[in-house]
C-alpha cells in the first residue's frame, strides 16, 4: 500500500524513513483522514516531512504521483456553480453588475464560463481568453476585466484539490536560498568547540558538593575556568571589482562572523591571493600585511575561510605578473597552495550560485586548487562548509 508513493518521495530526495511510512499507514488505518485527497495531502506531509525546507520538494513529488488520480476522482474543472456565483456577487459593485447585464446577463456569463472550462485543457496564465490568472479574460483572478469572475483566488476553501500542492507555496522556504545575519550566525555556530582553559574563576558547584561530601561536610570550594569557544578563524575577503554585487551579503557574513568567533582575524584581497593583503580598505596601499607574515604568525589550528566570487581571468591565478593591480613575482596559485599547506582546514565560500560555477573557468581553477572545498553562500552551503571545518 502506497509503497510506490514512498519510493517516489525517496527518489525526489525527500528524506523519508520506513518508520514514518509505517506511521502513515497506521494513521490511515485508524481513520485519521477520510477519503478526501486534500486531507491525505496534509496528513502525509505532517507525517513524512519534518522540515519546511522540504515542503516544496514534497509538493512536486506529490503532484507528480497523484497526477493520474485526480482525474479519476473527477476533481478536474469541478468548480461548484453555486459557490462561484456567491463569491462573484460578493465582489461586484452595482456598476459592475450593470456591466454584466450589458454583456448578456449573469446566466450567459456563467454559461460561457462553463463552455470555456470544457475547452480548456490545462492551467493558463495571462492572455485574454482562457481561464487563468493575471489576464484580461473575464474568467480568472487578479485580472483587469471588471466583469471578471474570480476563480481560485486566495482564501477559497472549495478550490479544486490538486491546487493546494500545485501552488507550491513553500517554494521560498527551500534552503538553497540566500540568507540574513541571523541565519548566518546559526550556521556559523556549528563551528564551535568549547573548552575550559585559562584562570579558574567560575564556581564548580558539582565539584564543590562532591568534594565537600568526601570531606565529611567540611566546605571545600572548587573553582574552574570558564568555557570558551576555542575555534580560531582566519577570514579572507575578496573586495572590489566583481564582488561589488555581493557587498551586502559579505557585510552580513562579516558581522555574523565577528560576533560568533572570539579568535577571528580578517584580511582583504583582490580577486586572488598574492604576496600581501590588507586590513583597512581605505589604506590598502599604505598598510599592507605580507602574506608570509600571516603564515608565520597564525598557527596550523586556525581554520581558513576565503570569501570571494573567484571570478577573474585565469591568468590572474596561474601566471606570475597576472595580478591586475601590480606585477607579482609569483603566481596566485603558488600563494594559494602555500596557505593550504599551512592551514589544512580551509574552505572557499562563493556568493555566486552553484549552478553557475562550471561556466566560469576561473571558478573551476580555484575549485581545483581548493580540492573541491568550495561552497555557495546559502544556508545549506554554509552548513556543509562548517561541517567540513569542524570535522
Amino acid at each position: 500500500m502506497l509503497i510506490d508513493f514512498f519510493l517516489k518521495l525517496k527518489s525526489a530526495k525527500v528524506p523519508v524513513t520506513t518508520k514514518e511510512y509505517l506511521m502513515l499507514i497506521e494513521g490511515m488505518q485508524k481513520g485519521v483522514v477520510g477519503s478526501s485527497i486534500d486531507d491525505f495531502y496534509y496528513f502525509s506531509r505532517t507525517c513524512l516531512v519534518k522540515d519546511e525546507a522540504n515542503f516544496d520538494k514534497f509538493d512536486r513529488a506529490f503532484g507528480e504521483y497523484f497526477k493520474g488520480v485526480e482525474a479519476i476522482m473527477g476533481v478536474e474543472a469541478d468548480i461548484p456553480l453555486e459557490w462561484l456565483r456567491k463569491q462573484a456577487e460578493l465582489n461586484l459593485s452595482p456598476e459592475e453588475k450593470a456591466k454584466i447585464e450589458a454583456m448578456g446577463g449573469w446566466e450567459k456569463l456563467m454559461e460561457t464560463l462553463k463552455k470555456r472550462l470544457e475547452e480548456q485543457k490545462g492551467r493558463h496564465q495571462g492572455g485574454s481568453k482562457w481561464i487563468g490568472t493575471g489576464g484580461t479574460s473575464p474568467y480568472g483572478a487578479y485580472g483587469y476585466n471588471p466583469e471578471g469572475v474570480r476563480i481560485g483566488q486566495e482564501g477559497s476553501r472549495n478550490r479544486s484539490a490538486v491546487k493546494v500542492w500545485d501552488k507550491r507555496e513553500y517554494q521560498n522556504l527551500d534552503d538553497q536560498v540566500e540568507l540574513g545575519t541571523r541565519n548566518i550566525k546559526i550556521a556559523l555556530r556549528r563551528l564551535r568547540r568549547f573548552a575550559r582553559d585559562g584562570a579558574p574563576e567560575e564556581l564548580d558547584l558539582d565539584g564543590t558538593i562532591s568534594s565537600t561530601a568526601r570531606k565529611a561536610g567540611m566546605l571545600d570550594i572548587l573553582m574552574r575556568p570558564e568555557r570558551h569557544n576555542k575555534v580560531k578563524v582566519l577570514l579572507f575577503f575578496d573586495i572590489g571589482g566583481s564582488m561589488d554585487d555581493h557587498i551586502k551579503l559579505c557585510q552580513e557574513m562579516f558581522s555574523a562572523a565577528k560576533t560568533e568567533f572570539k579568535h577571528m582575524e580578517y584580511f582583504y584581497f583582490h580577486n586572488c591571493l598574492y604576496d600581501y593583503v590588507w586590513k583597512d580598505n581605505r589604506r590598502r596601499h599604505s598598510e599592507r600585511t605580507p602574506t608570509v607574515d600571516i603564515l608565520h604568525k597564525y598557527g596550523h589550528d586556525y581554520k581558513l575561510i576565503f570569501v570571494g566570487d573567484a571570478t577573474m581571468s585565469p591568468y590572474e591565478i596561474l601566471q606570475p605578473g597576472g595580478s591586475i593591480e601590480y606585477s607579482n613575482d609569483e603566481a596566485g596559485a603558488v600563494w594559494m597552495r602555500r596557505m593550504l599547506d599551512t592551514y589544512p582546514k580551509a574552505v572557499w565560500l562563493n556568493p555566486e550560485p552553484e549552478q553557475l560555477w562550471p561556466y566560469r573557468q576561473s571558478i573551476s581553477v580555484i575549485r581545483e586548487l581548493m580540492e573541491a572545498r568550495m561552497y555557495p553562500i546559502t544556508i545549506e552551503g554554509l552548513e556543509r562548509a562548517m561541517r567540513y571545518l569542524s570535522k
Binding site: P15, T17, K19, E20, M23, E26, G27, K30, V32, V33, D38, D39, Y42, F43, R45, T46, C47, V49, K50, D51, E52, F55, E154, G155, R157, E169, Y170, L173, G180, I186, R189, I209, T212, A213, G217, E383
Partner: protein, 280 residues
C-alpha cells in the same frame, strides 16, 4: 477527542488535521513557524478545547533534559545532614519532580507543551528520545521506573534556531504554521476584537500587508504585532480615513511603532516613504 479550533483560536484545515493526527496516533507534534504566529497558544487552546490540564515546560539555553524529569537536590540534603534533620534518611525527600514527571503522573490524559525546544543545547532533544517515545524513564536514585499513566498529548515548538536531530524528528509529526492570508487574518482579528469596525479593519489590514511587503525589513510584523497595533488604534480612536490618508505629510501610518520593533526597520521604512514621496 477531536480538535476543531476554538472560540479564541482560528485553526486552518491543515493545522486541525495535524493536531487530530497527533492526538489519535499519540505522537508528539512539532510546530514551527514565524515568531508570533501562535505556536505556543495552540497548545493552550487545544488543552482548553479538549478540557484537559496543560503542563508547560519552557526551555532556555541552559535547560538540561534531566530537569524535565527530576532533579536530585544534593545541596538541601547536605545542609539537612549538617543540621541533623531526620528527613535526610529518605532520599525521596530530595527528589524534585520535573514537568515531564508531573505530566506522566496525571490521572487523565493531559497536554504537555515543550516550548522553544531549539533554545537548548544541540543534544537536548536526543536526551528525550526514549522519554517521548515510550513515555517512561528511570530514577536512578530511588530505583524506580516512572511510566505515564496516560500518554500525554505532546506539543513541541521551535523557532528554527538550531537544527533538530533526525532521530528526534522521525518520532514527531511536523507542522509549519504559515503566515495567515488576508481572509484568515480577518477571522483572527474578528476573534480578538469582535466589535471592530469593518471599514477600519480593512484599511488596517491593507496597511499591514503593505508594511510586510517592504523589502529589507529585519523583522516583518506578525500576527501578534497586528493585534497590538489594532488595540492601539482602537484605544486612540483613530478614524479609518487616517490610515489611508492622501495627505502627503501624514502618509506614515499612525502608531507604526507597534508594527516595527527594530530601529533600523523604522528608519528604512521612513526613508522609503520619503523617497516615494519625492518621486511623485
Amino acid at each position: 477527542m477531536r480538535f476543531h479550533g476554538s472560540a479564541n483560536y482560528i485553526s486552518t484545515d491543515d493545522l486541525t488535521l495535524a493536531v487530530n493526527a497527533a492526538v489519535t496516533l499519540q505522537r508528539p507534534l512539532l510546530i514551527k513557524g514565524e515568531p508570533g504566529t501562535g505556536k505556543t497558544m495552540l497548545a493552550e487552546e487545544v488543552a482548553k478545547a479538549l478540557e484537559v490540564p496543560i503542563f508547560e515546560w519552557h526551555i532556555k539555553s541552559t535547560t538540561k533534559a534531566q530537569q524535565g524529569l527530576y532533579e536530585y537536590d544534593a545541596v538541601s540534603r547536605l545542609r539537612d545532614s549538617q543540621l541533623g534533620d531526620p528527613r535526610v534518611h529518605d532520599i525521596n525527600n530530595y527528589i524534585v519532580k520535573g514537568t515531564l514527571w508531573e505530566a506522566f503522573n496525571a490521572d487523565e490524559p493531559v497536554v504537555l507543551l515543550i516550548d522553544e525546544v531549539d533554545k537548548a543545547d544541540i543534544e537536548f532533544p536526543n536526551d528525550l528520545l526514549r522519554e517521548l517515545d515510550r513515555m517512561e524513564f528511570y530514577v536512578y536514585e530511588t530505583h524506580e521506573l516512572v511510566k505515564a499513566k496516560h500518554r500525554p498529548i505532546v506539543f513541541i515548538t521551535s523557532n528554527n534556531e538550531k537544527e533538530l536531530p533526525d532521530a528526534f524528528l522521525r518520532r514527531c509529526f511536523f507542522h509549519y504554521i504559515r503566515f495567515p492570508d488576508k481572509e484568515t487574518m480577518e477571522k483572527i482579528v474578528d476573534v480578538h476584537f469582535p466589535g471592530i469596525k469593518k471599514h477600519l479593519l480593512r484599511e488596517a489590514l491593507e496597511v499591514f500587508f503593505e508594511v510586510r511587503e517592504v523589502p529589507g525589513l529585519k523583522k516583518k510584523p506578525s500576527t501578534s504585532e497586528l493585534l497590538d497595533w489594532l488595540k492601539l488604534l482602537l484605544a486612540d480612536d483613530i478614524p479609518p480615513e487616517a490610515l489611508r490618508s492622501k495627505d502627503k505629510k501624514t502618509i506614515i501610518p499612525p502608531l507604526h511603532g507597534a508594527l516595527l520593533k527594530n530601529e533600523q526597520d523604522v528608519h528604512l521604512f521612513e526613508r522609503l516613504i520619503f523617497m516615494s514621496r519625492h518621486n511623485r
